[in-house]
Symmetry: C2
Subunit: 454 residues, 2 copies
């Protein structure tokens, strides 16, 4: 029997994160304040610890992972790289499909990779309380877990539609000692304003971010933690790709193409950036690896958005960042991949996409669930709806290989399990899920509200 | 950093199951039919494939694991053995606590170890349909998964109280293509009889077994699969302990005591029997390992039951087996460890207990959830309520070590994760869970209904 699972020893947990900025052809566009000038670090220090802000602007290629962070990583890392042999057989493809199972983490997704680092740096800075937002609940449960690891209190604003769809994600956060609030809430001015306009507002990641930032900015003992988008978050996720590269060496194989779901961009960054390092250096043994961000057709930030300065949140509370955006007040449909319902995208991912160094595709909801069920029936793992986006893309690529006879190697970032998403699977089986039409008009309207720059 | 996780290569998945019968001081008491004579295999062949029946009565020490079964095991096995260092630190104990994480399996528990084997042998026998029962849903989702792996249709009678408490376990079974029926149901005579007596009957494992057996016995294309109790089930689970022994060698350590939850007995058998082999041979390096079955105080089969012949199901449909029992019509309270709500116990476990070769303790529900939350906060994994029983016992042992200063090595069978049990955790946090009083009167009554033998 060929080996199907490629494991690393705990001593092989990366000692450094990889910073893609060192290998980008151009420096990242700066984050700007209301005055259209780069935001000074000191200003951001109201809600972030200095160590994370330094990572945010660093151009060092390698940034050391503190030992206490690696110590917590050891609870689940290194994660396995698994060859999806049964899925290949089911598809009848000559392609080889591998997935990195980030669902084995404590909170069931890749999110703890950065949550643990953020909790650590905040504790080191003497902060004893964090606020954050969560969509599908993957980030919320991750920061709840990470806070528990370092003795930090956590308050989580959870997008209301997910709060209602996923009560057990709340229970999970509670098990790790965090407090969970449905957003929009009455606890912040932002929340009250949105509720005044529409008491039935289902919430969005953008609104929840506004609420969490507003509270963190108003309390000295409290900082804010973001689960995606920012450079330091993308940085922390690179443990995924760094481990995967060692594991592909073990497997005696190497990806032709990497697929990762893309909402705020950090799971894509985590899987893809370490392979980008090789691309930038001329390729792995001279071969360029295709790096493909997979987003929902209903929230098609990279594929249908504009590359422009925009706010990170819905109400214009944050500084503005240059990124692909659908407009900060774009309200995505209530699809079940809550983690991908974000109007913007990581500025690093956006810049690489803008420069043609990575690719992006958008896939419709029903096709992603079909792919997830196929994967579950072949591999025994029920994936998170977010992960189903990457799996869909991988299956499509494998089917192209079947048609062409090419034996490509496909790498999928399986970002999480779907144990808290079974209601969505039920709706899929019951024929109640739909493909949302690409909201061209809504996006055109929201793009008219971009902030003016320069 | 000391290693915390002890992994085996996939080539080290056991090639044989260990059959404890070979090392028991006395042969197992035979299973008897209505005539009080040992049931001929041919009769059992109405609902089980011959290969499993041969395992049921075998006294061979080692039974080969078919390659197609090992092939499926590879989707998640070998499972990790993990040192619970953070839990040790939280308790301040000199004890070393290790757990075998069976929750990494496809269905999230140890149950697929036998489900896969059973589905395989049934397919080899030309069977294309299986019925079974499930309590907490761990077994049901495992057989759904296993059926999917071998192209077998599966119908699952799910104890109604769990069916209602755990809708997402149903969704999981559905994802793997199985059909799930709340038991008692109107599909069988047994179900109709129970509903006639009490339309609100919350169900029990015993009733659900009766329903599944009744249906399997009445259809030629359909066999029955049992998730615990029987000898062949205990046999298949020994991959747990066999792997653990290799992993303890890697760790340079060896358990002084093994704790496993005990409902029908198979997870205990799986973890403990391979260590019993050493005990029977004079001990590991001369040392006997304590083997402790941990059961719920509300369903205390080993600690408060009687060692006698009884039916495996609630309505007297099955042959009778010599085992510890609370009486086949004992209705355990609706505790959240649904997998431990069984009136009887594995005949092999029962006989070893009766002969004083293993130990048993009973723990109350609230204490098990307290232990589970401590474990989640220390180790990042939210355990199944069943597993919390073993964790409770391990914590108590570790606290005894703290008092005595002994540095014992404790091995816990972490049989599953609690992702589908968050409603139970919520009830615990909300103060709504209770400790059921030991139902002395109810047990005394049900014990009066034991079948007459010989």
């Amino acid at each position: 029997m060929d080996p199907l699972r490629f494991m690393l020893d705990q001593s092989q947990i990366p000692t450094h994160w990889y910073n893609v900025v060192a290998d980008m052809p151009h420096p990242p566009a700066p984050t700007l304040g209301p005055d259209n000038k780069p935001v000074p670090l000191e200003k951001m220090a109201a809600i972030f610890p200095m160590a994370l802000l330094e990572q945010e602007i660093s151009s060092e290629r390698w940034i050391p992972i503190p030992e206490p962070v690696r110590e917590i990583y050891r609870l689940w890392r290194p994660t396995p790289l698994i060859r999806a042999k049964r899925l290949e057989d089911m598809l009848g493809t000559p392609a080889r499909i591998y997935y990195k199972n980030e669902g084995v983490s404590s909170a069931g997704s890749h999110k703890p990779n950065t949550a643990v680092a953020q909790a650590y740096y905040n504790r080191e800075a003497g902060i004893c309380r964090l606020t954050t937002e969560t969509g599908a609940g993957q980030w919320g449960s991750s920061i709840a877990f990470a806070g528990q690891m370092f003795g930090i209190e956590v308050r989580i604003f959870m997008v209301k539609v997910s709060y209602l769809q996923k009560p057990f994600r709340r229970s999970m956060m509670r098990t790790w000692g965090a407090e969970v609030i449905a957003s929009p809430s009455t606890l912040t001015q932002t929340g009250r304003d949105f509720l005044a306009k529409d008491p039935e507002n289902p919430g969005s990641l953008g609104i929840a971010i506004s609420e969490a930032v507003e509270e963190a900015a108003s309390r000295a003992d409290t900082n804010y933690a973001l689960g995606s988008v920012l450079n330091h978050v993308a940085l922390h996720q690179t443990v995924i790709g760094l481990e995967a590269k060692k594991q592909f060496e073990l497997a005696g194989d190497w990806p032709d193409v990497v697929f990762a779901p893309c909402g705020g961009g950090s799971s894509f960054a985590g899987a893809a950036f370490p392979f980008f390092a090789d691309n930038a250096a001329g390729g792995h043994k001279g071969k360029q690896v295709r790096l493909v961000a997979v987003e929902p057709a209903s929230c098609p930030t990279l594929t249908k958005g504009t590359y422009a300065y925009d706010y990170g949140d819905a109400s214009g509370f944050t500084p503005i960042m240059k990124m692909y955006t659908l407009g900060h007040d774009f309200m995505p449909p209530g699809i079940h991949a809550g983690g991908l319902r974000y109007h913007g995208d990581s500025p690093l991912v956006s810049q690489l996409y803008h420069e043609g160094l990575i690719e992006a595709i958008a896939v419709p909801q029903l096709a992603t669930f079909e792919a997830g069920v196929m994967f579950a029936r072949a591999e025994g793992i029920i994936p998170a709806p977010e992960s189903n986006h990457a799996i869909r893309a991988a299956i499509d690529e494998a089917l192209l290989c079947k048609a062409s006879g090419e034996a490509k190697t496909i790498f999928v970032n399986l970002t999480g399990h779907g144990h808290f998403d079974m209601a969505a699977y039920d709706r899929y089986f019951d024929g109640e899920l739909e493909d949302h039409v690409y909201a061209e008009d809504a996006i055109r309207t929201s793009l008219q509200h971009l902030p003016k720059v320069g």
